[in-house]
Each structure stands twice: as structure tokens, then as C-alpha cells.
Amino acid sequence: MRGKWLWIIPVVGVALLALSLFIAACAPATPQIVEVTKEVVVEKEVVKTVVVEKEVPVLVTPTPEVKKPVKIELWVDPRFDPQTAKGHPELKTALDYEKMVANDYIKNNPHVSVEIQVLDWADLPKKVPVAIAGGVPPDILRDYLGRTSAYAYEGVTVNLEEVVPKEELADFLPGLLELYTINGHLHGLPIFYWVQNMVVNAAPFEKAGLLDMLSLDDHDWTFDEFYAAAKAIKEANVGVEYPLVMQVASEQGDYAVHAFIWGAGSNTWRDDCQGLDLDNPQALAAMEFLNKLYKEGLINPDVTTAGWQDVNNLFYAGKGVFMGGGISTVNVSIPQAQKEGKVTAPMDARLTLYPHLGDKPSGLPVGPTGLVMFQKQGRSDYELQEITKFLIHLSSEKWQRDYCISSGQFPTRYSVGAPLAGDPNYELTLEWIKKYGVVSMGLNCPHYYEVRTAMPAFFQAMFLGKMTPQEAINGMMKASKDIFGK
């Protein structure tokens, strides 16, 4: 008799398992997601909140217009941590910064609630596409053009020229809006951009009496002059082992390599964005120059596997004196490293231009970050309107100015002017952009990231002597053609 009812035990077990799975599935979101509106509600007057959240009878005095609540999901990069956002000492985390910006909007729009996720750099390229593919993208994403352009090519972004008023768009720099226009549609709003230069530690040169070799008066130096300076500082016995520190372990180090290609007078991408454009004598000359630097020990020997921190460590330790960087490197990263005791060599970090092969320096690479809005099933016109207004707030003159001061980057609106005016590095970089223009990095080209990721293997092979510079170029061109299906 007892054995007959034995099957009840596993049935109960399965039921308990199903119940626990159900409870787990219905559990609230992880603590990483913050409902900003809760903070606002605490700070705001209760009466106002009650008016918004509960439908109350008409009062004797006329009530303000009650708008339907809207919840906006905003995902951002972790750019504005307390180290970078120096104008806000009260902030503890990057999330605090984003909450501050959102609260500034909500105080005048209490019907809006904003759910913010600050993704780390490693998560950005993974979590967002998975969310899109799963049908649960954020409403607004702040990310780099190189990634948002891929979303635009997939057709998952809202065409902003259809929702953002023309008078708003008129305030943006046309060149940047053009960068963000893909297949005839504006897929994002640029909100700030960085400029890549070369950072040089002038201290060892001064110690060795070689400061004049750096061309710091006009920042206009040729490949040969750069080579001479690198060789001289290595031989001067002041602790410099590998004058030029860089990394080609991943695609993240590519701009430092491409800077020499641009300096030699070549593009990296074709003007029609249909692949790489390295099959020319100028690109070959740049690759041969880099190869020569490596073979003569003027580039760090772990260039094929070093990470960003390794490159920085070599620079901070005075083993290297040239590395890629920009205003934020000189104004923020290096001073922060000095404060943390990571800089162990005498340091006099200056911005300069990469050397060139032709008659003048090349244009500067410019990398914008922007805001994109994703398409979402079931979103009403009203919600679209509200999200657009919040997007415009995030890219407003006030906050762009703050972004630029906090991160050492450049604004994208005319009305912002020059937030870092007076900063010599800022003025210098602006002057260079006006004089030499900008180069195309292919950020808004189709398959940009795939091509970009394919390239480091060939730089590595060249440095390790497995390929000649020409073979490396041929390999990259073939990889590019394969990716484009040609």
C-alpha cells in the first residue's frame, strides 16, 4: 500500500522546484538598477507626489496639468566616475553623476521616472546587443559611435531627425551630425568627443639635455625627427628603455598605430566606407617605420600582449616616454596616477602631435560619444515624445558643458562654446583641429568593429617577424574584403 503512494514524493519535489523557479523569475531587479524617481519623491513635497500618483478629485484651486507617468530606461557608460567628474566633489560613484543629471530633468517633469544602469566598459558591447536581440533594449543608450553605428546598420535605432526639432539640431556641429547619419538617417545625437594626440614625458628629455628634439614649439615633426629623438633618449641612459609604448594586443590600441598611418598620408578606411584603404605606399611606409622602431627596441617588446594598464605603467615608471592620449590623459589620468603613487619617475606630461611623413601633420582622430534611442514594441507616440525631450535634456547646452569639463572632451553644440577655454592643452588641440582637420576612423562604416578587431593580429604578426609589413597590409585588406563579402 505504502509503495503505491511513493510517487507523491517526487511530485511534491517538482512542484516545490516549479514554485521556487516562479518566485525567482518574478523577483525584482538587481540592485544595480536604480529608480531615480524614488529619490525625487523623497525630496519633493508629498502633496505634489500624491497629485501625480493618485487620481484626486478636482480641488477648489486649479491643479497643474496631470501628465501620464512615463518610465525611461537609460543605460550609460561609466565615464563620469568621481576621478573624472572633478567639478562634483559630492559624488561617490558614476551612478551618482547620472542621477544628478536625471534629477535635474525630473524636478521639472515629475511624471517622468528614470531607471539608470551604468554598465562597465566590458559589458557595454555585450549586454546591449543581447538586450536588443531579446527585445528588451533600453530607451536611451549613451555610447561610442563605433558601437552605436552598428546598431543603426541593424535598423534598431529611432531616426532622430523625425523626432528632434530642427531648431535643436541646428545647434549641433554639422560635421558631427553627418558622422551620425547612416543610410540617410540620424541615428544618434553626439554629446562630446575626444581627440587623440600623442603624450610625451618631457622630463627625461630635459634631464638629458634633449628637449629641443621634441619640437614642442610647433609640434611639427617628421618620422625621421621622431626616430632621432627616440633613439637619443634611449641611449641617454636616463632610464628610458622603450621610448614609444603602445599595445596591439587588442583593437583598443589601434589608434596609436593608425596615427602613424595617417601621419604617413594614408587613410585607414575608404571614403565610401566599403573596407580598408591601406593598399598604398604611404601605409606601407608607416608600417615599415613601426617595424623598424620595434626591431631596434624603441617600442616595448610586449606590444603584442600588453594591456592598457601595462602601457600606462611603463609610461608612469619612466620606461617609455611617448604614448597615445589626449587632454583627459594629461589633465585627469596622469595627475590621478600621481596622487595614487603610480607615477614613480619624474613626469612632465605634454600633449603633442604624432610625427608625419609628408609636408605637414595629419588630421586628428576624433571619437564622439552620443545618445541613441532604440525602437521598442508597444511604445506610444506620447512616450516617444517624452523620451525625446529627456534625450534633448541629456544633450543640452548645460550638461554638455559639464560633460566636457568633467571628462576633458569637446562639445558638439555651438551654444556650449569652449568650456575648457583657458586650458592650454584644450586651446592647443582646438588650434590643431582648425589647422589640420580631422581624419576618418571609419567609426560610422558598416562592419567597423569586425574589421577593427581583425587588424591587431596582423600588426602582431608583423612585430613578431611572422609577416613583412606588406604581407600584414595584404592580410588586413583580405580580411576586410572577406568581412564585406567581396
Binding site: P10, A133, H447, A454, A457
Partner: protein, 312 residues
Amino acid sequence: MTVLAAYPERRRTWWQKIWDARAAYLFILPAYIPFIVFVLYPLIDGLRLSFYEAGVNKAKWRFIGFDNFVRLFTRDDVFIIALKNTFLFVLIVVPVVVVISIFLAVIVFPLPRAAQSFVRMSFYMPVVSGGVVLAMVWIWIFNRDFGLLNYLLEIAGFYKLLGIPKIGWLAQTETALLSLAMVVISWSIGQPLILFLAALGNISEELYDAAKIDGASGWQIFWKITLPLLRPTTLFVLVTTTINVFQVFVVVLLMTLGGPANATQTIVYRIYENAFVFYKYGYGAAMGVVLLLIVGSIAYFQFKLLGQEVEY
């Protein structure tokens, strides 16, 4: 004619047989539900996805038949390199792991319990530490300028003796894959060691006594008695280690990113790149199907070769 033969057995249908064993099926259901949800369903859906051009925009997914597979073998040079590297990696790691764990088990087995426990714990610690932690430690061990390995080799006069500069273990194509193999071997020995120790405990002492009486040497005892009787365990270790090593990923992601110059590019890393970096889910799924067929075939042949029972 017996009494039983007068009553022929009633034929039962398959669902009747399942109903008879319903308690047993219900007992294993809690384990099978997660298996179906997290393994079987994704496997079947991945197979389906491999025939699609599938990116982040589901509305743009389209059926392309075998195009992904054709592209893999005709236009993706990096995948071919990844295939070769993965096979080479398996050929290096699997025999070393099996041989070392058998060797260690045979040496450790006769030791006192305390010593056995110490050795078991030492080799099993990497297994429980997790690949990420170990990879981070090994990155520093292999560091060219500050790493422990080069420091010890310098003290031992290795570089001076050979007259060569310091080796960047992860930075050179000749040494990168071997360095990763060393890392994977270090954390793969623990589990087989435990299994072999347990299997050695099941071999009857009488067989060894009989062999000694017959004048067999230590080597003969090992080769003719111990090893054949360890065959079932060896087969299990071989198959599971092969499957695990074919799926090498963590060390590549954390230590070399497939470089230098694709020297450590592997199939699973290539799947990861295509699916999660380039958003080509269908193409990544096709690579997964290829990996499944390779691993499945190898496991089948291993069973065929080593699957015979041994009896004394």
C-alpha cells in the same frame, strides 16, 4: 509445460512501461527540467540558428541554408587557424593530464592517508579556485619583466646559459599556446587524480599478490594489471578532459585574446567573438555545430577504442 508457460506474458505498450516506472521518472525530473531548459533547448535552437543570418535585429533574420558553414571553411581563415590551434591544444593537454594524473595516483595511493589527503587537496585547489582567478595569477607569472617564471629562470642562469633575451611567454607565437597549455594542465589534474585514486582502491589486492608470487616486476604489475583495470576510469577521464579542453575559452579571453597573431585563437573564442563582439549569432551558432560534431565524433571513437571491459 510449466504453470508459467500456460499464461503468456501480456505485451505492454511503451507508455504503459513509462507509467509502471512513473516514480522513477518523477524522481529524475527535477534534474531533467533544468537540463531540458538550459541545455537541450538551446542546443536545438542553436542548430536552427546556424542556418540563419542572425544579428541583433530579429526582424532581419533570414534563412540562408548552409551558407554559414560554407563560409566557415572557405572564407574564414581565422576559423581554420582556430580549428588547428584547438586540435593542437587538445593533443598537448589531454595526454599530459591523463598520464600525469595516473602517474601521481599510482605514487600517492600507497602513501598514508594524511599524505594522500594533502596531495589530493593541493591538486584539487586549482579546480575549486576558478579559471578567472588562476588566469590572473598566471598572467603575472608569465609577465616578461616582472613575472615569477622569468625571475626564477634568471636566477637559475637559464637565459645566460642559452645566451637569449628574456622570453615573453604570452607575447611570442612559439610559446603562447604552450604557456596556455601549462595553465590548463595545472588545473585539470585535480579531478582525474581523485578519480584514479578511487579506482585504484577498487582493484583487488589479491591480483597484486598473485602477480608478485609469479615474479612480476613493478612495471609489469602496473602495465598488465593496474592500467587495464583502470581502463573504465581512463576512458571517462579521457572523454571528459577532451570535451573540456576542446572548449578552452577562459585562458584565451583573459590572457591572450587569441593572440599573438592568432597563435592562441580557439574555436570557442571565435564563437564568442562572432556572437558577442560582431553580433553574428547565426555564424557563431554554425561554429558551435561544427564543434559539437567534432567533439561528438572524437568521444565516439574514444568509446569504441577503450570501451571494452577488462576482466581477470
